[in-house]
């Protein structure tokens, strides 16, 4: 009962916030911007309460099943976005990110969530760290993807000398690049942590597991390599801007395969 009320509140909150961010993007009205951020913050608080209550009820971290995991993922994205907005004092990304949060949340709520208890095998703190770290990494990669796409759009507008509304509202190239670098670095560090803890846990729980037969692990290793290459190229070859934006896109496609695609091929590694 309370859970469904909370859920409704979250949906309405994200909806209002998404609409406000989209309205704010072309108009840049101070008041609308404040609504957008305020509603996002309120939704995020409700969302946190919901996730905590699910966690307390089921006795494990709230990422079992597709519903919980997507909900957890969008929650992380909302947190990362809000901190980026406050750090860079720029709301224009919100018009792209918050509607995606809303879509993901709607998609999640359409899936039935059984609230099944965690199988005993997975009741390990290593496992919790593994999943949490991986999720944080995915959320960060999502931002490196979005900022990369916006970078490419902005470069196109600048080169083609098309200075429309979208152009005038997007942040400066170097700011997008800076956001992209930060998101990628955070994502890569958490992915590394997630992989290390996953490995550690699996060695204990599953000594006979055949690593390379799990398509998910292959995808994740590929993802790790792509982002590692991007960071190396940045720091040693001085790559930036459009090239790293392409890499961010490639990396995120790989993340999607790891996150969703792999679910279709394997029933062992469902997150």
């Amino acid at each position: 009962m309370t859970a469904s009320l909370l859920h409704g509140l979250i949906m309405v909150g994200y909806l209002g916030s998404a609409v406000s961010y989209i309205r704010h993007f072309p108009t840049r009205q101070f008041r609308i911007g404040r609504y957008a951020t305020g509603l996002l913050l309120i939704s995020l608080i409700c969302h946190s309460v919901l996730l905590i209550s699910i966690g307390i009820q089921s006795g494990h971290l709230p990422f079992v099943g597709l519903y919980e995991s997507i909900s957890f993922f969008t929650w992380l994205i909302a947190i990362v976005y809000l901190s980026l907005e406050l750090k860079f004092r720029d709301k224009s990304l919100g018009a792209f990110v918050v509607p995606l949060i809303l879509t993901a949340q709607i998609a999640a709520s359409m899936l039935i969530h059984p609230g099944s208890p965690l199988p005993p095998l997975l009741q390990s703190s290593w496992f919790s760290i593994h999943v949490t770290a991986s999720f944080v990494a995915y959320a960060a990669f999502f931002f490196s993807f979005i900022t990369g796409i916006l970078y490419m759009m902005q470069t196109y507008y600048l080169k083609a000398r098309r200075f429309g509304v979208v152009f005038s509202r997007l942040p400066a190239l170097d700011m997008l690049d800076d956001m992209n670098l930060k998101a990628t670095t955070i994502g890569w560090l958490f992915l590394t942590l997630g992989m290390a803890t996953g490995l550690f846990w699996a060695l204990q729980a599953w000594p006979t597991f055949l690593w390379l037969q799990d398509p998910k692990i292959v995808c994740v290793i590929l993802t790790w390599v792509i982002y590692a290459f991007q960071l190396t190229a940045r720091y040693t070859l001085g790559w930036q801007g459009q090239r790293t934006a392409y890499l961010a896109t490639a990396g995120f496609i790989s993340v999607l395969f790891a996150y969703i695609g792999a679910r279709l091929w394997t029933d062992v590694h469902v997150f």
Binding site: F30, L158, F163, S168, A172, G238, G241
Partner: protein, 428 residues
């Protein structure tokens, strides 16, 4: 009490006249002391002076707007004889003066519509007068409201969005590539007005350093001194380009001084960090084919002019919306302003009636000593009821007069009809 405005601006006066009346800080202080010394005719005053306008807002006593003392002050401030300025002056009062100030502060009356400075200039003019205590109830409220209107117009419309000159468009584009100009360097190749202006804008926006490159080093140094830059020979300048993020080129050369190969080499040397090139020379200094080089962003004067024109058109559209906001605010302010004129009249009317009533009551009761206390009270009660009923309609009508759109002139008719001003003079 009435609000009067006397002034001149780029709409009415040519530049040489405006130059003569532009007030420096010290003259502005003198203006306010003149205002204070001007005697009782001027109640309050604010002096507004920018490069393009010089205006005095003042309230005067009396039934009709009285521009004369204000005009007198205006001439005195500028130390010019009447004949010089008179043909260029505009005079406005009450509603028209309020509307004028609201339009000015919203930049609707500015030379470049949507410019930002005027809001600060009006604010400073007001604060100065506030400091000198030359303002009172009316001008305090008027200017505080005007500042709110100016902010509101800029928040709710896009009248100030988008650069409208070639050099400011260039700076705006630079900021789409480099968020923080204080981390970046610029170079001006050649000289020329637009080039220098662009360099100056970059300096104003906090660019880290500016190098000026020219065929003659002396000329380069001379120009560079104007924005604390370094002057170098043009060949040296081309060598330094690998460390330069923004290049403004405006030489008189008849061939391309930067070709595609040059840029390819420069970009290799700067490890492909973005470079922003502005070519404002005619004929062009930079080969347009450099656009195909990775992370090279080149704009010529036509590109910049197109953006400036589009932005000008958009500002004009936004101005219509701004005019509506201003009109709404004028009406709102008038509600208070006209009420201000009406309230004392209502009070005087009531006082006059009450004086007559109590005077006549005393006389009457003195002759009717046989009445009991209760009867006396009844008579007194009746006298109050009579004047209340008599004054009810005039009071309501007076309050109506204070509504925007109503004719404030009715007020003087009423005062005349009841002889209010005569009474006051007798009292004095």
């Amino acid at each position: 009490m009435h609000l009067n405005l006397i002034g001149l601006s780029h709409h009415t006066a040519p530049i040489d006249i405006r130059d003569q009346v532009a007030l420096t800080e010290s003259v502005q202080d003198r203006a306010l002391s003149l205002l204070k010394a001007s005697g009782s005719k001027l109640l309050e005053g604010v002096v507004l002076s920018t490069c393009n306008r010089s205006e005095v807002y003042a309230t005067t006593e009396g039934d009709a707007p009285d521009a004369l003392p204000v005009e007198h002050l205006f001439h005195e401030i500028h130390g010019l004889s009447r004949g010089v300025l008179t043909p260029y002056l505009y005079r406005k009062s009450d509603e028209a003066a309020i509307r004028h100030l609201f339009r000015v502060v919203s930049s609707l009356d500015s030379m470049v519509m949507g410019e930002q400075q005027i809001l600060g200039q009006v604010k400073n003019a007001y604060l100065k007068s506030l400091d000198e205590q030359t303002t009172g109830v009316v001008l305090n409220r008027l200017f505080e409201r005007a500042l709110v209107v100016g902010k509101k117009v800029r928040e709710q419309t896009e009248i100030g969005v988008g650069a409208v000159s070639v050099s400011s468009v260039a700076v705006e584009l630079a900021k789409k590539i480099f968020k923080d100009l204080s981390q970046h360097t610029a170079m001006l190749i050649g000289a020329g007005e637009t080039g220098e202006l662009t360099a100056r804008y970059l300096a104003d926006h906090g660019i880290r350093s500016i190098v000026v490159a020219n065929r003659t080093v002396e000329r380069a140094v001379e120009v560079a001194n104007r924005f604390n830059g370094a002057g170098v020979h043009i060949d040296e300048g081309l060598q330094m380009m690998k460390d330069t993020d923004i290049v403004i080129s405006s030489t008189g050369a008849d061939h391309h001084i930067l070709r595609r190969e040059d840029l390819a080499e420069i970009m290799r040397a700067r490890r492909n960090k973005p470079i922003f090139l502005i070519d404002i020379a005619v004929p062009r200094d930079i080969d347009p084919h450099v656009r195909s080089v990775y992370n090279v962003f080149l704009y010529d004067i036509d590109d910049l002019q197109t953006v400036a024109d589009e932005n000008t058109d958009r500002r004009k559209k936004e101005a219509q919306e701004a005019e509506q906001i201003v009109e709404g605010e004028v009406m709102r302010f008038l509600g208070w302003y006209q009420g201000l004129a009406v309230t004392p009249t209502i009070k005087e009317l009531r006082r006059q009636a009450d004086e007559i009533r109590s005077e006549e009551l005393q006389k009457t009761l003195a002759r009717l000593e046989h009445l009991s206390d209760g009867d006396r009270q009844t008579v007194e009660q009746m006298s109050r009821l009579i004047i209340n009923k008599l004054l009810h309609t005039p009071t309501v009508r007076l309050k109506d007069v204070s509504q925007p759109g109503e004719d404030i002139q009715h007020l003087s008719s009423i005062r005349h009809l009841f002889g209010l001003d005569e009474n006051k003079n007798e009292g004095d």
